[in-house]
Symmetry: D2
Subunit: 345 residues, 4 copies
C-alpha cells in the first residue's frame, strides 16, 4: 500500500486527485494540507467526497508528509520548488502538478513565470512526466514534473509528426480550447458563470506560459533546439467545465500514411486512442477519464494536416496523468485507479 500525501488540496486538481486516489486500491491517502482550511473535513468542503474521503485538511507544518511514499503538489506555481528538496531528502518521491520543474531553461522559466527559481538543481534532475515520451525515466525518477493540460493535448497530437520529421517545424499552429476548470478554483470575475457562460473568447494570444513548455517538448521529440520550433499557440476559454480540444495544423513536407503513423506510434499506449479516419473526437468522450483521443484529417487533400486531440484537462491534463506517473514510479499496473469509463452524457 503506497502512502500518498497531497499538498494544497482545495483546488480542482486537488479534488480530482482525491477522487482518483479514493478509487485506487493500491494507495492509502495519508495527508492533505491546506493553510486556509486546516482542520476542515475534506468532505465538508467537497460534498461529493462524503463517504469516500474521511481525512481533514492539515496545516502544512503539521502534516506527516515525510512519512509518505509519494507527495503530490497541487499548489500554485512557486510552492513545490521551495518544499520539494526536503521531502526528496527524506526519501519521499514527489510529483509536482504545477509548472515549477517543467522548463529546463531556468532563465526562460523565470521570464515566463515572473519569479526567481528556488531549486535550479532539481529542475535538472526532474523528469518531465509525459509517459508516452519518458516512461523509462519516470520509473526511477525521484521528482516528476507533471505536464500542463494544453501541453499534454498538444504534444500528444503533434508527437508522431514531429518525430517522423515530415512536417514544417517552423510553422506549427495549435488552436486550443479549454473548459473553465482549467483556470482553477479561484475567486475571480473573469471565470464567473455570468461571464464565461454562453460566451467564447481567446486569451493570452500575445503569449501563454504553456508555449515554452510545448516548444521544449516538441524540440526534444524532434531532436532540435527549442528555438527551431516555430509555434503559434492560441488558447480559448470555452463554456464547459472540463475538457481540452486542441486543433493542430501542420504543413506537410513529406508524404506519409499519417493515419498509420499515429496508430503505430500509440499502439501500445493504454491512454491514447487514435480514432478511425474522418472522426471528430468530442471532449465529453473522455470526461472524467485519463484518455486522450486523437483524429487525423487532411482537408480537401491539401498540404495542411489537421490533428484533433481531446483530453479531460483535470485527468490526463493533470490529476490522472499524475496518478499514471505514480503507478509507473512504483511499479504498479499503469492503469490502476484509472479505469473509470468516461461519463457521457
Amino acid at each position: 500500500m503506497i502512502k500518498a500525501g497531497i499538498v494544497g488540496g482545495t483546488g480542482y486538481t486537488g479534488v480530482e486527485l482525491l477522487r482518483l486516489l479514493a478509487q485506487h486500491s493500491g494507495v492509502e491517502l495519508t495527508a492533505i494540507t491546506s493553510r486556509g482550511e486546516a482542520g476542515t473535513a475534506v468532505a465538508e468542503m467537497f460534498s461529493s467526497l462524503r463517504g469516500s474521503v474521511n481525512l481533514k485538511f492539515s496545516d502544512p507544518k503539521d502534516a506527516p508528509l515525510n512519512e509518505c511514499d509519494v507527495v503530490f503538489f497541487a499548489t500554485p506555481n512557486g510552492i513545490a520548488m521551495q518544499q520539494a528538496a526536503s521531502l526528496l531528502e527524506s526519501g519521499v518521491r514527489v510529483i509536482d502538478l504545477a509548472a515549477d520543474f517543467r522548463i529546463k531553461d531556468i532563465a526562460l522559466w523565470e521570464q515566463w513565470y515572473g519569479m526567481s527559481h528556488a531549486s535550479p538543481a532539481l529542475v535538472a534532475e526532474a523528469v518531465y512526466g509525459l509517459p508516452e515520451v519518458n516512461r523509462e525515466q519516470i520509473r526511477t525518477a525521484r521528482l516528476v514534473a507533471n505536464p500542463g493540460c494544453y501541453p499534454t493535448a498538444t504534444q500528444l497530437g503533434f508527437l508522431p509528426l514531429v518525430q517522423s520529421g515530415c512536417i514544417d517545424l517552423g510553422h506549427l499552429i495549435a488552436d486550443a480550447k479549454s473548459g473553465v476548470s482549467g483556470a482553477g478554483r479561484k475567486a475571480e470575475i473573469g471565470t464567473l458563470f455570468s461571464e464565461a457562460s454562453d460566451n467564447f473568447k481567446a486569451y493570452g494570444v500575445p503569449g501563454h506560459r504553456h508555449l515554452p513548455e510545448i516548444r521544449q517538448g516538441l524540440a526534444r521529440a524532434a531532436g532540435k533546439e527549442t528555438n527551431q520550433i516555430g509555434l503559434t499557440f492560441v488558447p480559448h476559454l470555452t463554456p464547459m467545465i472540463r475538457g481540452i480540444h486542441a486543433t493542430l495544423y501542420a504543413r506537410i513536407t513529406r508524404e506519409e500514411d499519417f493515419q498509420a503513423m499515429f496508430e503505430q506510434r500509440y499502439a501500445a499506449e493504454p491512454f491514447v486512442d487514435v480514432l478511425p479516419p474522418k472522426s471528430h473526437p468530442e471532449t465529453r468522450s473522455v470526461r472524467a477519464a485519463n484518455t486522450c483521443r486523437i483524429a487525423i484529417h487532411r482537408p480537401q487533400g491539401g498540404d495542411t494536416l489537421v490533428v484533433l486531440s481531446v483530453i479531460d484537462n483535470l485527468v490526463k491534463g493533470a490529476a490522472g496523468q499524475a496518478v499514471q506517473n505514480m503507478n509507473i514510479m512504483f511499479g504498479l499496473d499503469e492503469c490502476s485507479g484509472l479505469s473509470q469509463v468516461p461519463v457521457l452524457p
Copy 2:
C-alpha cells in the same frame, strides 16, 4: 459471473447501464439490442465506451437474451410489458427501467400512459424496485419495476415523514427540477441546446405521469389508500445534463426531531446520505454516482418542513438503481459496481 442483457441500449439509460456494467466485476455483458442500430458497434455510437465495451447492437430477434441471467429493459414505455413474459418463462429475471410495471392499478396506469396494458398479471407480481422500501421482496423477485427518476428523489425525501405520520398527507408539495437528460435521447425541438440552455420552465403542471407513481409509493409507506395522498407535483426543466433536485414541502402535524428521524431511517442505507442541519445539497455532489443526498429544514421555525433531495437522474434515478436491484436479486454486495466517486467539478 452474471450474464446480463440490455434491450434498447441507444438511449441515455442504456448508455449509462453500459457505463456501470462495464465497471462491474461480477457481470458479463452478453447482449444489447437495438432495432435501428443492429450491427453497429456500441462504441461507434458512444465513443466514450471505446476500449470498455466491445459489443455490437443485436437485432432484438437474434439476441441471445434467453441465455442471460438478467435482462434490463431500457426501452420506451410499452415494450417490456410485451416481452417480459417469455423471458421470465425462460428463467431470465427482468428489470424494467420504463414504467410498465410500476403502477398496480391497471386502470390508472392505462389512463396516464394512454395504452392498454399487455400483462396485468405481471404487474401484480412485479416488485417496485426501491431498495430502501422493498429490499426483501427484491431479493427474490423475478420481475422488478425500477422506479422513475422523480419518484425516487421524491419518495426518499418524504418517506421518513410519511411513515412516521407526523405531516399532513393531504397537502404535500413536490417542486422538482430535472436536468435535460431526463427527457431522453430523442430528436425533439424542446430539448435542443438552443431551446433548453440559459432557460428555465415548468412543464406538465396539469398532470405528469410520475404523480400517480409517487402517490402510490407514499400511500403504501403511510399505510393509506392512494387517494388519501394529496400531492401537488410540479416538474421543471433545468439547463444541466444530469441531476434532480426535489424541493419538498409538508405541513407538520406532530412535533418530532426531524433531523434525527431522517438519520435513523437511513442509517443503514448505503446510498442515502442525510446531510447535517442547515445543508443545501447540490446535484453535482452526486453526479455520476448512485447516491441520494438529503437535507431537512424548518425555515423560520414555522410549521412547514422543507426537505431537499438530490440524485443523478441517470444513476440512482435509473441505471444505477437498476444495478443496485440486480445486486440484491443475485446476492451480490449491494454496492458492487456502484462505488464510483461523484465527478466534481
Copy 3:
C-alpha cells in the same frame, strides 16, 4: 432631456442600466461613478457598450451628480442610505436599486441586513417602486426603493390572490429559481462557472433577505400586518445567466375564476402578461426585456393553486423596473426605452 447619473456602475445592474439608458431617447447619461475604476472608459470594461456609451467612470467625489435630474444607486446595500439625503436636498430624485429603503420596519431591516440604518426618516418617505401597486405614489416620489428581483416575481404572482382574499395567507410557498447574475458581479468561488454550471441547489433556506420584503408587500396588498403573512420562501441557484422563475403555491379558501381574476388585475399593465390557461412561461421569453409573464394552474382540480411567474432578474427585477419608475416619475411614456423585444433563442 432628463439628466441621469449612476452611482456604482460596475456591477450587473449597472451595466444593464447603461444598456437600457443608452437606448432611451429621453435620457442623457451624465455621470457614472466607480471608486475602483475612476478614469476607465465604461466601454473598456464592458466591450458590449463600445459605440453606445462614451462616458468614463468618475470618482464618486468628483462626479456632477448634483446636476442630474435623477440618480440611480446600483451599489451594494448600505451605500444609498448614506448618500441619498444630500442628493435629495439638491433637488435630485433618487432611485435605489439596492435594499436600503425597501423595508419600512427599521428594526426588521437592521436584523436582516446586519447594519444600523443611516436614514430612517428617508425610509418612511421612500416609495416602494412596484408600479403595479404604487404607480400614483411613484409619480411624485423624490425617493424610490426599487424592489428586489425575487420580490418582484413573487409579488406579481401572488398579488391578485392576496388582494381578493381567496387564499390561506398563513401558508404561502414561493419556490424561486434564479439565474446566476442575481448574485452580482463579485469575485466569489460559489458563482464560478465550474461551480455553478451543470449544477442546481437551494440556498438560504433558513432565511433570505427577500423574505421580509415579500411579506411586507403581500401584507400591504392584503390589508394585513406583516406577521399575518406566513410565507415559506426557498430560493435556488440555476445554471443560467438571467431569469427568475417563481413557482408559487397557495391553498384556495374561496372559489373564484382565477384566470379571469389575473387577466382583469393586469389588463392595463404594460409589463405584466397573463398567459392563456395551461401555459408554462419560460424565462427566456422575457430575456433582456421588462416583462413579467404569468400562468395560473390548478393541478388535478385540487385545492392548491400554482402560479408560475417569470422575469428577467436584471430588467423587471432591477434595471428595467428602475427605468420604468423613472419614466413614471418624470411623466414620460411608461414604456420609453423599454420596448426591446425579448432575445430568443
Copy 4:
C-alpha cells in the same frame, strides 16, 4: 413604410428577423409563411413575441407576398431558387438568407449542396450581400444573397489582408467556433442539450459548405481565381446559443502596420469595430447585435498573423445582415432597426 414578407419563419433566422423587424420603425410586417404552422399565431410559437408580433403564419400559397416590397427567405437551401423568380417578376425584391444564390459557379454549388440548381440565371444576377464589400451593388439589387455566418466572420477578418496582398493566400487557416443555434431549429439528436452542452468538438473537417463561399469571397477581394485561395477551414460546435468566434491565421509576406490597416479599412463601417491592440473580443460583446468586432495579433513577433473576429451568428451572420441589406436597398439609414445594444451579461 416598407412592406416585408418572410417565407419560412419557424426557424431561428426567422424568429430573429421577426425580433428585428418588429423594432424597425420603417417596416410593416405583412406576411410570414409556414407550411406546417399555417394558422398558428406567431406569438403562440415564440412566446417572446407576445405583444410585439400579432401575425399568424400563412400557408405559402395564400400569403400576399406579391404585395410586399421585399421578401426574406428564411428557408432551408433549395427553396428560394424555386420561388424567387416569380416574386422578382412581380416587382418584389428578394433577400435570401439561405445559400441558393451565394456561389457563382453553378457546378461547384451543385457539388457542395447536392442538388441541381433551379435558377442559374438568377445566380448570375444576385448580389452577394456583404455590405462591407458590395454596398453599391446592393443598393440597386433586385436579389441579394445574404452571406453565411462563418463566411461573414471569416471574410471580415481576412479582407484587409487579402486586399492589401501582404499575406500568403495559399495557406490561410480559419479555425471557427459556432454556437449551437447555427445548426438551426431542427429536431436532431446531435444538437440536443444533453449532447452539445459541456462538450466541444470539430465537425465537417473533411469539407464544409461554407468553404467554397469563403474562398470565392476572398478570391474576389484579392483579384484572384477561387482556386488560388488555399484555405483550411475547421468549424467547431461550441456549447453556447449564439456567437461565432473565428480565429484566423495567415503567413505574412510583406510587412505592414496591420492594426492601422484594419482601422482604416473599416473606419467608415457602422457594423465593424476594430479593437485596440492586444484585445480579445468575446462573442457576448456582440450578443443580439449586428456588430462584428475584430482584433489583430502577431504572437511573439513571428511571421504568423492572428485575427480574432466575432459576430452573433443570428444577427450579423444572418437576420441582422439581411435587415442591413434591406436598409441599403431601400435607401434607409443603414442602421435603422439595428441599434440594439448588445446584451451582456
